[in-house]
Amino acid sequence: MILALLPFYPLISAMALLTLGKRLPWFLASVLSVTSVLASAISTAILMSQLAIQEQGAIQVTLWSWFSLYGNGEVPVNVAFNFDALSAVMCAVVSGVGFLIHLYAAAYMKTDDNFHRFMAFMNLFIVAMLILVLADNLVLLYLGWEGVGLCSFLLIGFWYQSKENVAAARKAFIVTRIGDTSMAIGLFWLFNSLGSLNIESVNQLAIQTWQTGDNTVFWIALLLLGGAVGKSAQLPLHTWLPDAMAGPTPVSALIHAATMVTAGVYLIARLHDVFILAPEVMTIVAMIGALTLLLAGIAALFQYDIKRVLAYSTMSQIGYMMLALGAGAWSAGIFHLMTHAFFKALLFLTAGSIIWALHHEQNIYRMGGMFKRLPVESILLTIGLVCLIALPGTSGFFSKEAIIAELWSSPTAGPVFWWAAIIGAFITSIYSCRLFFLVCLGTARNTVNLEPTMHIAFKVALFTLAMLSLIGSWFYADLTPWFSAEITKTTNDPAWLHVIAIVTPFIGLLFSWFYFSGFRQGDKQQISQSGKNLNEKTFYLFCHRGLGIDRLYQVLLVTPYIRLSQLNRKDIIDGAVMLLAWYTHLFKEVWQSSQNGHLRWYASAFALGFVLLTAGWLL
């Protein structure tokens, strides 16, 4: 019963907010939307304790029968939820972090005209996300999958009055749609060959049906990976995420950092039995993860918008998760997903607070000296960054080390990927330091009066998230037993691996301490020169624009498409259809001219008809 209602509390709230709209005062609306998410979070907590007591592995509930598919016999598709260890972790993250972000958002968006719409969409997003992670079968999962995509679109384009926001929303929608299409094809194929879309039976049947490395399973896994890549903003479908920062900051925190973008990771973990049967795809997953984390890390070094820095950092961290999945380190990947949700939500919300305080200033080159001006936010930002860099003791440290430790000896990954992860960690610490120096240290380059920020809701949300970021690793649920099909290791790790992995962030810190000394000391000339470089020098510009991938797509896909559509402006096929319409029009003209309203004309036509009839009868 608890499970059955779990995803629907926010739905009620969303419906109420959408129907009642501005008739609800701010306080009631925010209480309604926030408590609905809290209800889900509490339900999750209760269920988790039940799960721990029962030791069954899963709690299941079937709500109603949705429809039936006809493959080999009738296959019912139910609206059914399945709450196991993996779902539990995801649910906890979605509803827990979601609750804190809702709390924050209620205060952050208080003055917005469309506050109700915003909260309704946020609630709707939570509903879709919970359905996604709780779904018992892949059809329901796909419903949630598309639901979060829709909410993401709506929320990125929330301030639809400005053209760029709408363009960003459209881009996010279309790019993820490419991945979704691939995933849908994968699902069709899966159903076609296994005759079931129930997740549990898919995992079982896959092992029974296919040999490792079968052609079919390779393609299915690849297609499903396409969906995951689109949703999780991995190479090559990552271009939408930086632009998605056009949405309000709580949206960036909730959807584009903590929850939705990890859906791809969840999908792969959920169908791990299928993926294990396709080791090549696992390697591809690892490669995509490694490439993304490096590319995004480099791009993050050349951003001046604080939110875009964090967006690229998110892509990079999800790259880590992908890397873990590709290496078969399921548990570590999910663990990093959880900790990342904590500290990235913290980072985004803190960034949101700073942006708020500075009257919507997002350029880090115009910040500086925040330690003195906004001490609380700065400390919170520091905590978040420390977790991101993965300094020992923080939650990020445990999860990231867990991933890196698995890479070297994994049969589907290997030393190359290990080195990629290490270099990624190095870059992470550099861009984090750059961000920290530019925002918090030095002298203030922005002299506007600060907006007061510390609404009680801000406080609660931020401090809780900070706590979670620091000690989140205590909640480490070892999912290793749940992922029964763990990949067996082939080689042993050399002893020096861990040392290097731990030391790397410090090397990065040390490097940036000297390299960015100008930023650190607030050298105005160097900072402004650096800011200018981003707009002028070709290499900087190249990196700033995400290493030219967008440009590549523009040249390869968008421009030819526009050219093509210009060629086909008159729509050749439509022309054929219009011929029919043209004929109809012609007939209409002819008959209309006969209906001229002249009595004498009608009488003549009458006589003509009579004469013709008589002639026909006589002959």
Binding site: W591, Q592, S594, Q595, N596, G597, H598, L599, R600, A603, S604, A607
Partner: protein, 102 residues
């Protein structure tokens, strides 16, 4: 017992009918159209009377009487309508009344 051949009567009737019909089609003046209609109705009457005379039956004359009443009613209504038309449009040109065109 000689009498007028039916065929000739019918030729007379259809000639009169055709003249009346041409009048209806050609004339724009509604009054002339009404008169042409009278000629047409009359022609049908001729056909009925001729048939009645040929077979020595009274039915033809009965039909003629019915046509007569019809003509009377038609003329009454038609002329009333023409008066309305004249009052409204100050003309008897039927081509003016083409508001029902498609």
């Amino acid at each position: 017992m000689t009498t007028i051949p039916l065929m000739h009567v019918l030729i007379l009737a259809s000639t009169l009918f055709g003249i009346g019909f041409v009048g209806v089609i050609v004339r724009k003046n509604a009054l002339f159209m009404l008169m042409s209609l009278e000629v047409m109705l009359n022609a049908t009457g001729v056909a009925f009377i001729g048939a009645g005379a040929t077979w020595q039956q009274a039915d033809g004359q009965v039909m003629f009487i019915l046509i007569l009443t019809l003509a009377a009613a038609e003329v009454a209504v038609g002329l009333a309508l023409l008066i309305c038309l004249q009052n409204k449009h100050q003309t008897l040109d039927v081509d003016v009344l083409s508001r029902l065109k498609g």
